[in-house]
C-alpha cells in the first residue's frame, strides 16, 4: 500500500518575510493518480509545488516524495520529477530543439538526440523546431514546456497552471496527453483554475491563503460541502433575474447567487432555511428547480468561508 503512495507530506509550512504562505499542508497522492490542486491566486499552490521538488526548503513539516525524504533528499528526487513552472522557464534565446536537447543532456539521458526527436514528434513541434522559444505563442510554449519536463520519463509530474491562457482545443490535447501518461503509471499534480479541468482529475485539493480547506474526489467534495442548489429560470427578460439576484443576495440563509446565462444558481447550506428564504420568490415568471451542486459552487463557497474566517 505505502509503496503505491508517491507523495505523502505532513505539515509543510513556508513563510516569506514573516508571512505564512503555506500553513501545515498535508497531502497524499497515489501512483497513477491525477491530482488537481486548486485555490485562488496567491494561495500558495506554486510555493507548495516548489517545496515538493526541492526548489524551496520548507520551514517545517516532513514527508516523502517518490520514497525519498522531501527535506534532505531533494537531489535524489529531482531526476524522477518533471516540473513545469507556472512562468515559462526555458531559454527564450534557444530554439525548441536546443532547449529540449539541453534539458535531455542535463538529465544525463542516453541518446539525447533520438529522445528529443521523438519528443518533437509526439508534441507535434516539428514545424517550429528551429524557432526561438521566445517567438512562440503561449500554447506552443506550454507544449514545449510539457515536452521538456517529460523528456526524462519522470515518475511524477508537477504541473503548475500548465494551461493558463491556452485555447480550449490545446487544453483538451494537453489533458489527453496527461491522461495517456497517467495510464502508463505516471503520477501528476496539476494546479489549475479551470473547473472543467478539475473535473478531469481523479482527486482534488483546495487551498486558500495557505490552508488546505478540502480534498477528495469531485463527488466527495460536493457531498462534503453540504450545499443545496436551486436553479431559477425565467421566460421573459433578464432584468427581472438581475433584480431577483439583488434581492436574494442579502438573505442570511443564502450563501451564494450566481448568474449562469439566462438562469441563476442559488445555493445555501441549510435546506430548510433556504426553502423558507426563497418561498416568497417562487412565483411566475420564475421557475425554481432543485439541481445538483456543481464543483464551481463548492469552490466559491470554500473561498468565501476562508475569507470570512480571515476576518
Amino acid at each position: 500500500m505505502s509503496s503505491e503512495t508517491v507523495i505523502n507530506v505532513q505539515g509543510l509550512t513556508k513563510s516569506f518575510d514573516g508571512k505564512t504562505v503555506v500553513n501545515g499542508l498535508n497531502m497524499e497522492i497515489k501512483k497513477g493518480e491525477i491530482y488537481g490542486f486548486l485555490g485562488p491566486n496567491g494561495s500558495g499552490k506554486t510555493t507548495s509545488i516548489r517545496m515538493l521538488c526541492g526548489l524551496l526548503k520548507p520551514d517545517a513539516g516532513s514527508g516523502s516524495c517518490l520514497g525519498y525524504d522531501v527535506i534532505n533528499e531533494s537531489e535524489l528526487i529531482k531526476p524522477h520529477v518533471g516540473y513545469m513552472t507556472q512562468k515559462f522557464s526555458l531559454y527564450e534565446d534557444l530554439t525548441i530543439r536546443e532547449n529540449l536537447d539541453f534539458t535531455a543532456r542535463v538529465f544525463g539521458l542516453e541518446n539525447p538526440t533520438k529522445i528529443v526527436t521523438d519528443c518533437i514528434e509526439r508534441m507535434a513541434l516539428g514545424p517550429f523546431e528551429k524557432q526561438l522559444a521566445g517567438n512562440l505563442s503561449g500554447g506552443w510554449k506550454q507544449r514545449l514546456s510539457l515536452g521538456a519536463c517529460t523528456l526524462h520519463s519522470p515518475k511524477l509530474l508537477l504541473l503548475d497552471e500548465p494551461t493558463a491562457g491556452v485555447d480550449p482545443g490545446a487544453r483538451r490535447d494537453f489533458w489527453d496527453q496527461v491522461h495517456t501518461l497517467a495510464s502508463q503509471g505516471i503520477t501528476a499534480l496539476i494546479s489549475t483554475h479551470y473547473m472543467d479541468e478539475a473535473e478531469r482529475c481523479h482527486r482534488l485539493a483546495y487551498i486558500a491563503y495557505g490552508n488546505l480547506l478540502a480534498s477528495g474526489t469531485v463527488e466527495e467534495m460536493i457531498h462534503d460541502s453540504e450545499l443545496v442548489t436551486w436553479n431559477v429560470a425565467i421566460n421573459n427578460g433578464e432584468n427581472a433575474l438581475h433584480t431577483l439576484s439583488e434581492q436574494l443576495k442579502p438573505l442570511p440563509a443564502i450563501d451564494q447567487v450566481v448568474a449562469f446565462g439566462n438562469t441563476l444558481h442559488v445555493s445555501g447550506r441549510d435546506p430548510v432555511l433556504l426553502e423558507k428564504a426563497i418561498a416568497p420568490f417562487q412565483r411566475p415568471p420564475f421557475e425554481w428547480t432543485l439541481i445538483e451542486t456543481s464543483l464551481e459552487e463548492v469552490f466559491i463557497d470554500l473561498m468565501q468561508q476562508s475569507k470570512d474566517g480571515l476576518k
Binding site: L56, V81, F88, L94, F107
Partner: protein
C-alpha cells in the same frame, strides 16, 4: 549522486556557446571594448613616484660614496633596500621586479674622485615602467652633485664647480627609450580582461534568475560546479580573442617590442582569465539583479585599476595600498606579462607570479560554490 558529471557540464557549455553566439551585441562589445580602450588609454598617465627600491652595488668604502648613498636616500626618490654582493645578484633583483634601480659604485671611487679622474657612477633603471623611473633618473645627477658639495670642501671644492667630478651614466634597461606605451599596452591587456570578463560573467547567473530560467535549471539534476564552470569555459575563448587582438595592436599600432615568447603569454593567461571569470560568476551568486551585478563588477575593477601598478607604480604606493594590490590577480598578471613582453622573461622567471593568481582563483571558486543558491529562497 555524483558531484560532477562531465556530460552535464558539457551540456551547460554548449548552451552557453549558443547563447553567446545569439547575443551579438554583447559579443561585439567584448571585442570592441578592448580596441576602444587601447586607443583611449594608449597614452600616458603621468605621476611622480618616490621611494623606489634601489640596490647599491658598491666596491668602494670612501666617505664620498657613502655621501652619495645618503644623498639618494634623503632625496626621497630612492629607498636603498638591497646591498647585493655581485652583479649577477643585482641583476636577479631587477629581473624579479624587487628593485627599480641599481647604483654601481666602482672600486677606488673616492680615490679617483679626488685625483680628478672622473670615476664612473652607473645608475641602471628598470625602465620597463618609465613612468616610475623617469623622475628619479632625471634628478639623479643633481642629487650626486649636492651630496658631493658637502664633502668636497677646502682645496677639493674646485672639483665640484663647473662640471661634476664623476661621470654619471644612466642606463634604461628593457626599454631604453623609456617609451611609456611599451609599458601601458601590455598592462592594458590585463586591465581590459579584468573589466570585460568580470562584467560579462557577473551577469551570467543573475540573468538566469531574472529571466526565470533558474527555476528550470534548479529543477534538473545539474550541480553548482557544473553550472559555474559551464558559464566560465565559453568566455575563456572570448578572453583569448581579446588577448590576440591586443597583442596584434601592441605590435602593429604601438610597435611594442616582444622580447619574450608569445606562447608563454597565451599559456599563462588562461589562469588569469579563469580567475576573473570566476570573480564574475561569484559576484552573480551574491547580487539580486543585473544592475547590482554591474555595480559590483566596478567595485572589483576600480581597485584593480588603481592598485595593481597599472595606474601608479606599485612600489611607489603606500604600504596598505600595496597590501590590497597584492591580493588582486591583475597585479601579478601585470608583472607576468610585462616581464615576458618587455624583459623577455622565460618560464622560470614568470612562474612565481602565477601562484598568487591561482590561489586567488581557488578561493573565489570556493566562495562562489558556497554562495550558489540551490533553492529559490
Amino acid at each position: 549522486m555524483r558531484l560532477f558529471s562531465f556530460k552535464r557540464f558539457a551540456a551547460m557549455v554548449g548552451k552557453e556557446f549558443v547563447q553567446m553566439r545569439r547575443d551579438r551585441l554583447t559579443f561585439g562589445m567584448m571585442v570592441g571594448i578592448p580596441l576602444m580602450q587601447l586607443v583611449l588609454f594608449g597614452y600616458a598617465i603621468n605621476s611622480d613616484p618616490r621611494h623606489l627600491p634601489t640596490a647599491v652595488l658598491s666596491a668602494d668604502n670612501s666617505a664620498y660614496s657613502r655621501s652619495i648613498v645618503t644623498g639618494m636616500q634623503t632625496s626621497t626618490f630612492f629607498d636603498i633596500t638591497h646591498y647585493p654582493k655581485t652583479r649577477a645578484e643585482a641583476r636577479q633583483l631587477i629581473d624579479e621586479g624587487r628593485i627599480q634601480f641599481t647604483v654601481t659604485i666602482p672600486e677606488n671611487f673616492g680615490r679617483d674622485l679626488l685625483r680628478g679622474d672622473k670615476p664612473i657612477l652607473l645608475l641602471e633603471a628598470d625602465a620597463a615602467d618609465p613612468q616610475a623611473t623617469g623622475g628619479a633618473s632625471k634628478s639623479f645627477p643633481e642629487i650626486v652633485r649636492r651630496a658631493l658639495q658637502k664633502d668636497l670642501t677646502g682645496p677639493n671644492a674646485k672639483l665640484n664647480q663647473s662640471e661634476p667630478p664623476v661621470d654619471i651614466r644612466i642606463h634604461n634597461d628593457y626599454n631604453p627609450e623609456a617609451i611609456t606605451q611599451y609599458n601601458i599596452v601590455p598592462g592594458l591587456m590585463g586591465v581590459i580582461l579584468t573589466m570585460t570578463l568580470v562584467m560579462i560573467t557577473s551577469l551570467a547567473i543573475t540573468k538566469e534568475s531574472e529571466r526565470g530560467t533558474m527555476e528550470h535549471l534548479l529543477s534538473t539534476p545539474i550541480r553548482p560546479l557544473e553550472v559555474m564552470l559551464g558559464k566560465i569555459v565559453p568566455y575563456i575563448f572570448v578572453g583569448y580573442i581579446q588577448i590576440t587582438l591586443i597583442t596584434l595592436a601592441a605590435k602593429f599600432l604601438f610597435d611594442v617590442p616582444m622580447h619574450g615568447s608569445i606562447a608563454l603569454v597565451f599559456a599563462f593567461s588562461v589562469v588569469f582569465i579563469a580567475a576573473n571569470l570566476s570573480v564574475g560568476v561569484t559576484i552573480s551568486t551574491i547580487v539580486r539583479n543585473q544592475l547590482q551585478a554591474v555595480q559590483m563588477s566596478m567595485f572589483f575593477f576600480l581597485p584593480s585599476l588603481m592598485l595593481s601598478g597599472f595606474m601608479f607604480p606599485f612600489l611607489g604606493m603606500p604600504k596598505w595600498a600595496q597590501g590590497i594590490g597584492s591580493v588582486l590577480p591583475l597585479t601579478h598578471y601585470l608583472r607576468l606579462i610585462r616581464g615576458i613582453m618587455l624583459k623577455g622573461n622565460g618560464f622560470a622567471e614568470s612562474i612565481h607570479h602565477l601562484w598568487p593568481i591561482l590561489l586567488f582563483w581557488c578561493i573565489v571558486v570556493v566562495i562562489g560554490l558556497k554562495r550558489y543558491r540551490k533553492t529559490l529562497d
